[in-house]
Point group: C2
Chain length 211, copies 2
């Protein structure tokens, strides 16, 4: 094994360190967040920092980088209190990646990269039509992380739209059947294959495979 | 497509809703967090809520459930200020899953599930010997999320230990070569296959595949 300490990490070139630390946390979900500003201008941006906060109430968070690095999504969420999160699939992973380019505030990334905004009743923010799993969130809280000027943005799930045949009898979503992509670091995209599901763990009982 | 709104979600049975909402965020990293209490008693627990906060400084967070549901890991981190995060591989995924059983505070999950604690110089917390990517963190901040009594626990990367041949020339860790597992929901484990890496995005330039 190779070992690196904090002095090594601090000494690395910026992009080398970013690639390394971004991969260290393991595979991540990767989704497109859709918003509008107060004038109705649509915005779409890729995020790999989405995290489950709780199921009851259904709360989902994401980390927004410092305002100067990633201003539009968080500003729109503050203004309108609503946003959508949309899974990414192999058919449009390149377009999804391209939303990370620094477009001007008055440019819709939907138009720039060639994805289709989808508007649904009572939700002011655009979904991605091409996505097979998507949900709308109502802003609950933006928690500043003063250590590095990032933000934990937390929303409550308001509506969910999914491909029908991925929903299991127990509520589990079979994300391999929807061809949901996952990512590693800032630029690596991966397909997945189910290894196994296991029964709920209890001390002294060996978990069994489900199905 | 099937659609569900907040009234549907609120009406579901608890485990059904938990499976559904836990899958909604997409594939997640899954790792084992190793800690000790003030008496040196080891603890090991599986977490799928690890999130990249920033690369410079190298900050990594995870969501700890309410204290009454998940007391040991966060108490140990508060007491000793140090913890390890260890990737999971197919050879021990069942043992990793079993660490989620509610063992007593004086039981080492290493012993209970059959994994090997690995002690390294200057790090008070145990690594998992069987893991091919592991790192130690120094506690920086515990941010309470009052919405549902969870916590965002943030640590700074202090040392990293990885299988040598997964490190790319640009700092990227090829997690498919280390057979790092990812998960979906609370109990689904997946292997991955690289689809593509893409170059840094700029407006008006189509991203190219790397390598």
């Amino acid at each position: 094994m190779a070992s690196y300490n904090i002095s090594d990490i601090d000494s690395w070139e910026r992009f080398y360190r970013a690639n390394f630390i971004n991969s260290l946390t393991g595979f991540k979900s990767v989704s497109l967040i859709g918003t509008v500003n107060e004038e109705g201008q649509a915005n779409l941006a890729i995020f790999s920092s989405i995290v489950h906060i709780g199921s009851n109430p259904a709360l989902i968070g994401y980390i927004n980088r410092p305002i100067e690095a990633a201003p539009h999504t968080i500003a729109n969420i503050k203004a309108t209190k609503v946003y959508t999160i949309n899974h990414v699939h192999p058919s449009f992973v390149e377009k999804a990646h391209q939303t990370s380019a620094k477009y001007a505030a008055d440019t819709s990334e939907f138009d720039a990269v060639g994805l289709t905004p989808e508007w649904r009743e009572n939700i002011e923010a655009p979904f991605v039509k091409e996505s097979r799993i998507k949900y709308a969130l109502a802003l609950q809280e933006i928690i500043p992380i003063t250590l590095n000027n990032t933000f934990l943005v937390i929303g409550k799930v308001m509506s969910v739209h999914i491909l029908e045949d991925i929903l299991g009898d127990d509520g589990f979503l079979h994300l391999d059947k929807s061809d949901t992509i996952c990512c590693n670091g800032a630029d690596g995209y991966y397909t997945t294959e189910l290894s196994a599901r296991y029964t709920y763990s209890k001390p002294g009982i060996v978990p069994k495979k489900i199905q």
